[in-house]
Symmetry: C2
Subunit: 222 residues, 2 copies
DNA sequence: AAACCGTCCCTAACACTGTTAGATTGTGTT
DNA sequence: AACACAATCTAACAGTGTTAGGGACGGTTT
């Protein structure tokens, strides 16, 4: 009865893949800060130092986690409208990153890309190139859309509230602490938009994505 | 000559402001991971536990750092073209965040905004509202542009190279490790764009910003 | 069969981290 | 001179990643 959260059979031999498997479960259920060498080892029925026979260090675990998440992102098959393909790629990316909220910051901070990360990038560039974009324009476009997606999700996963009541409490606390007169437009937007029933920050994703895609279209015809 | 990097006079009394001052210097010169309670205390000529008489915990230091950086971002004065104002705001944001590379992730992960953070947001919304945007469109637009800027800089500050030769070494290492045939378009883009003399990823910022601003313009007239 | 070798795992330790409890100092006021 | 109070101290706790060195086990070679 000791172990409660990540139930992983500790029979199979310890190796890099099993360590990553366990790390993913722990990160998803308790956050990335719970992924420690001692914790992974305990989950694998082993001592911390033993992990260093399968992995160069904790960095390799983090790199591996990033690529596992990247592999989970479905890339649209070639052949089709670039706008549709890039749009779906963006939606899929957001969906997967929301399932692993710790992954966004990690993807940015880790700098050794794995095969899945490269494939995701390849699919983005391909969609633009086969859609008639020059190499230069494709580079600009994929950078713009990926920056937008990562930036949006980065904010989204760090929001300090999860439902409307928590949001109301949050905005209330902020507006109490600071004079509302200093931020008239922010105040207006909060009252008339944010605090309206049915609001969720995640809804802004689609409009922002449309903005970026429209901008990319405009960059084509000029 | 024990102390070498952050030379801060340790005469003045210890308080929250001085702690933040020291924290900023340490973070800029040695990275955010060097900002530890013991390090700040040492720099202030004091023991770590003493800091807790001036600050609730390390979180308050990090929150303070975020707002110090936000305060450094120059917001354009009211009255002018929205595209120009938002563009300058984006450029200024990027410039300041590049001076404090640790700040991007921190701004996203900390969830207690300070006055400077709110002012920056206020200025963005104001530019759109006074440019004729509805509350809804202004919300969409400011979310889109801020997501783009943060996402771009997040990638930019985490690039594992600083000059063209390091970039060449990096791409070379990646292309050795993985079969280039698996990523034909990425390969093409690398050869024809990334490895061209004068390339720097930061140059993509302007084109992406133009894309977002064009997209916002398009969202107005539809 | 006996010796060897490499893989895997262990214990122990090092130098760190944020944070708290409780004692001690120093300064200013009564 | 006595008190009060804020600021600082020492010591400790439960963690972190990582390395060194030793022991057990299996398979392969002599």
């Amino acid at each position: 009865m000791g172990r409660r959260s990540a139930e992983v059979a500790s029979r199979a031999p310890v190796n890099r893949a099993r360590a990553l498997e366990v790390a993913l479960v722990v990160a998803d259920s308790e956050g990335i800060e719970a992924v420690t060498m001692r914790r992974l080892a305990r989950e694998l029925g082993v001592e911390a130092a033993s992990l260093y026979h399968h992995v160069r260090g904790k960095g390799e675990i983090l790199d591996g986690l990033v690529d596992v998440v990247a592999a989970e992102i479905e890339v649209p098959a070639p052949g089709g409208d670039w706008r549709d393909m890039i749009g779906r790629r963006a939606q899929n990316t957001r969906a997967v990153l929301l399932k692993h909220p710790w992954a966004v910051s990690l993807m940015a901070s880790r700098t050794t890309p794995g095969p899945a990360t490269l494939s995701l990038l390849e699919a983005g560039i391909r969609a633009f190139r086969e859609g008639g974009f020059s190499v230069l324009l494709a580079a600009h476009a994929v950078s713009a859309v990926d920056s937008y997606v990562h930036g949006f999700v980065l904010q989204e996963v760090n929001l300090p509230f999860r439902d409307e009541s928590e949001l109301a409490a949050m905005t209330g606390a902020i507006m109490e602490q600071f004079p509302a007169a200093d931020y008239p437009y922010l105040f207006e937007l909060t009252i008339e938009h944010v605090l309206q029933p049915g609001y969720a920050y995640g809804n802004e994703f689609d409009s922002g994505l449309a903005i970026v895609l429209d901008g990319i279209t405009a960059s084509l015809t000029q």
